[in-house]
């Protein structure tokens, strides 16, 4: 079972006092202390782990966030920030002795600026709401994680969220211009602004994807772009995963960067088709959705070339969308792949490794072997353009030992990804889910270097401790600490 930092009993003993202090900062109802009312906060999208927080506080101004953090810093209280709670890696998993800082009340779009092509939003605004706010002028916010109707822009910054269009349009980090954030000391900082540069170090990049460990984001400025004139998708069936994989490589080698390029394996195709009836071919081993966007003439031209490349790779079926409704239908199956798999299996966990694309056949073969070893089925959806795999491991939590086997299977898959030159996570974050695998990718010196960044932002280790890194870190000797011969400098520090 997952180990988290030991609760601080002296903090728990002061709970009533802390509740009173919080109610001096935010309205009475914005501090939630009853177990029943805190229940919705006990887990995020990674529902295998649950923990009630000490209490939930829902601030609505930057000044309140600053005051809360200042109090927590002075009284050694841990803070777990939370947006909409859609994280798939447990980034918002509460701590027993921590305040869960919910940012849902920060739900306003503050400024829509078409002249400078940006939107300033509070962190609790959903990803899709930003696009909704600007689409009447033909603009949109590019990163589109599958959870975009629910996930918040603040959470997107914390996780550096991606989506199906990031090969062409980038991740969150490529699409935000500035943030306002609060350090544990209560200090309020502004990084960047309505322009694409910062004074000094690129701390915006460090904050993006830092999983709530460095600061609390209280405002985000995002870049918006003009929607392409046309988008059309091709649905292409292949006799093998290898031929589909080769087709992806050939499309990119031909100088074509599709707006989206997704691959599904046979189990995923069947699950999605049974759920959505998108008209996916069922007699193929792998399916590609290739979407081209841009001016009509360009899209038509490139689709013809993609068709030729597919044929050269022995494609068995090819359908091109002829209407917006048909294009949406092609995507519906892919976007519903997770719930579709949820229909055929009582439980599933979704993994998120990235691999060099050419290693796909090797990794899929390895995964089939692991599936036998762990006696659990797996379905694969894959952001094929950028090598980001989402294996869905099917299991039944009610059967003795299956959750543990599913987790071990997942860990084996991620180890395989790292072994072929890939990484543990492409877009879901490390959270608690992959925390204990960090050492398969980084040596102790490299982890130590990353922990020293944490020290620069949060030397008392109070912001979201126990996430991302498998050890805590003493910051007292900041910078002067040496790791020699691969030995950890503080063997006495708790490992989770």
């Amino acid at each position: 079972m997952l180990r988290m930092p030991e609760p601080d009993h002296s903090v728990l003993a002061r709970r009533a006092e802390i509740v009173t202090a919080m109610r001096r900062i935010v309205p009475h109802a914005s501090v939630i202390e009853s177990a029943t009312q805190m229940r919705p906060y006990e887990s995020d999208g990674l529902t295998a782990y649950k923990q009630l927080p000490m209490l939930v506080v829902l601030p609505e101004t930057t000044a309140q966030v600053s005051a809360i953090l200042q109090y927590a810093q002075a009284h050694n209280i841990k803070i777990v920030p939370r947006g909409a709670g859609t994280s798939l890696s447990g980034g918002a998993l509460p701590l027993e002795d921590g305040i869960l800082l919910g940012l849902a009340k920060f739900n306003r779009v503050l400024d829509i600026d078409f002249t400078n092509r940006c939107v300033v939003a509070q962190p609790g605004v959903t990803n899709l709401a930003i696009t909704k706010a600007v689409e009447h002028n033909g603009f949109y916010y590019a990163p589109d994680p599958s959870s975009q109707i629910a996930c918040t822009i603040g959470g997107n910054v914390a996780e550096n969220s991606g989506g199906v269009h990031c090969l062409k349009y980038g991740l969150t980090t490529n699409n935000i211009l500035g943030i306002e954030m609060v350090l544990m000391t209560g200090e309020v900082l502004r990084l960047g602004g309505k322009f694409c540069e910062q004074a000094g170090y690129d701390l915006l990049a460090v904050m993006t994807g830092s999983e709530g460990l460095l600061g609390v984001v209280t405002e985000v400025t995002v870049r918006i772009i003009k929607k392409a004139e046309t988008a059309r998708a091709a649905l292409i069936g292949f006799p093998s995963n290898e031929s589909a994989g080769q087709c992806v490589a050939d499309i990119i080698s031909a100088g074509i960067i599709p707006g989206g390029m997704e691959m599904m394996d046979k189990p995923a195709i069947h699950a999605a088709e049974a759920f959505v009836h998108a008209g996916y071919p069922l007699n193929v081993e792998a399916l590609l959705i290739v979407e081209l966007d841009g001016p009509q003439v360009e899209v038509d031209h490139l689709l013809a070339r993609v068709g030729k490349i597919a044929a050269a790779n022995k494609s068995k079926t090819l359908r091109v969308s002829n209407s917006e409704a048909e294009r949406t239908l092609f995507w519906a199956g892919r976007k519903a792949a997770f719930p579709a798999v949820g229909r055929i299996s009582p439980d599933y966990i979704c993994m998120d490794g990235t691999i060099p694309r050419k290693k796909l056949p090797e990794v899929l073969k390895g995964m089939a072997k692991l599936s036998k070893k762990h006696r659990l089925a797996v379905a694969n959806v894959f952001h094929a353009g950028d090598g980001n795999l989402h294996p869905l491991i099917l299991f039944d939590a009610n059967k003795e030992g299956e959750l543990a086997r599913a987790e071990e299977f997942g860990a084996d898959i991620l180890r395989l990804c790292v072994k072929v030159g890939g990484v543990l996570t492409g877009e879901h974050g490390v959270g608690v889910e992959k925390r204990d695998l960090m050492e398969t990718m980084f040596n102790p010196i490299e982890i130590e270097q990353q922990l020293r960044i944490k020290c620069a932002f949060d030397p008392k280790n109070l912001l979201n401790p126990g996430k991302v890194y498998p050890t805590l870190h003493a910051c007292a000797e900041q910078g002067r600490m040496m790791v020699r011969g691969g030995a950890l400098p503080h063997p006495d520090l708790p490992r989770f």
């Binding site: 350090l183 004074a199 000094g200 701390l203 993006t208 080698s253 050419k358 090598g387 490390v430 270097q449």
Partner: protein, 370 residues
């Protein structure tokens, strides 16, 4: 000091008792505040480690010449999409320098408007921190959120945090062709408005600049049929003065990329100023001193030439100004990089300490504090 390999570099740093001026091919020594320390010469870290066109990945030694990288990519119809500039003439160097220095200074050309800067294309690096530890960050994959984003932090750190030995970049296909539409000069306010108007169309321009007396330049790249269709679209939306064919278009954007329009007046300082485009014309109108300038990035970037001690920052409402070309004495006494708010400055010092606690790398190159 000229280390042979990463181990040698790590040992040299571990053994060091006084600071270094970190240098690859020596082309960025005139950029930033002057560093008075003996060189840590990284020029041995050169050569291609891996180039996989179908994976859109390039890994090479940090001191590999930018022109060598570009030659290799061009042969496969690929490019560093952020259009790394060649500041040889304004920084008085022999060539554009290395890929590592391009990253360290987070450089970008006109296409930043569409695809971002070096920081948006870096995927990973290997380097040595100020304690002589070899650190690897990122990987040969284009999508990765495992741990803090060290590669992007290195971009724009001017060699003050770590020294790179190798870097991994994302590369992209080169557009089949390009043309540039020219709008007649109607003044800077109109130019900024026109560029904003174009950015709100489906023309997908990959660069938009304004040069006083010459007009607005809008670059359209892609396959031939698409370029033609988008130029037609612009034709319908606004009055095009001229359309430059590919060869002239390429030459023009190279000149704008490399700050050629301001390069000649050697007695003038050159500022690189980034601000929201909506504030640019007001800023320029407020300047009480003689100046020469042009705009890039649809008005977000102003390249400004003025006499020393002009006090450019006083007239900015928001944004970031860098003193890009100035003599050594001026760079020593002026804030070359944009001053930070006190809390941010303090955090920057702590970040510096997290990598280079003994202040060995490029002391005071960015800010007096470190």
């Amino acid at each position: 000091m000229k280390p042979r390999d990463a181990m040698d570099l790590a040992e040299a740093v571990k053994a060091a008792s006084s600071p270094f001026s970190v240098t690859g091919l020596g082309t960025k020594l005139n950029l930033g505040r002057p560093v008075s320390a003996p060189p840590l010469d990284l020029s041995n870290f050169k050569g291609i480690v891996a180039y996989e066109p179908e994976e859109l990945i390039l890994e090479c030694g940090a001191a590999t010449k930018l022109s060598d990288v570009e030659k290799l990519l061009t042969a496969q119809n690929q490019m560093l999409a952020f259009e790394p500039p060649n500041y040889a003439s304004i920084l008085s160097t022999k060539h554009a320098g290395s890929i590592g220095s391009t990253l360290a200074c987070n450089l970008a050309g006109p296409r930043r408007l569409k695809v971002g800067a070096a920081r948006d294309h870096i995927l990973g690096f290997t380097g040595v921190n100020g304690q002589g530890e070899i650190i690897r960050a990122g990987a040969r994959v284009v999508k990765n959120v495992t741990g803090y984003d060290l590669p992007r932090l290195m971009a724009g750190s001017y060699g003050t945090l770590m020294t790179f030995t190798s870097v991994i970049f994302k590369v992209l296909p080169t557009p089949e062709t390009e043309q540039t539409c020219v709008l007649a000069d109607g003044g800077v306010s109109l130019a900024v408005a026109q560029m904003a108007q174009v950015m709100a169309t489906g023309a997908e321009v990959s660069a938009a600049a304004y040069v006083p007396k010459h007009g607005v330049y809008l670059r359209i790249e892609g396959i031939k049929a698409s370029v033609k269709a988008r130029i037609d679209m612009l034709h319908r939306a606004m009055k095009l003065h001229e359309v430059l064919p590919a060869v002239r278009s390429r030459k023009l954007w190279q000149e704008l990329r490399d700050v050629q329009p301001l390069a000649d007046q050697n007695e003038l300082q050159i500022w690189r100023i980034v601000m929201p485009p909506s504030e640019t014309s007001e800023f320029l109108a407020a300047l009480p001193f003689a100046h020469d300038y042009y705009l890039d990035w649809a008005g977000a970037l102003t390249w400004l030439a003025a006499k020393p001690d002009a006090g450019v920052r006083r007239y900015m409402n928001s944004g970031v100004a860098t003193l890009f070309r100035a003599d050594e004495a001026a760079r020593a006494k002026t804030d070359v990089f944009h001053p930070q708010a006190p809390e941010l400055a303090a955090l920057s010092v702590r970040v510096k300490n997290a990598f280079d606690p003994n202040r060995l790398f490029n002391p005071h190159k960015m800010y007096r504090e470190f």
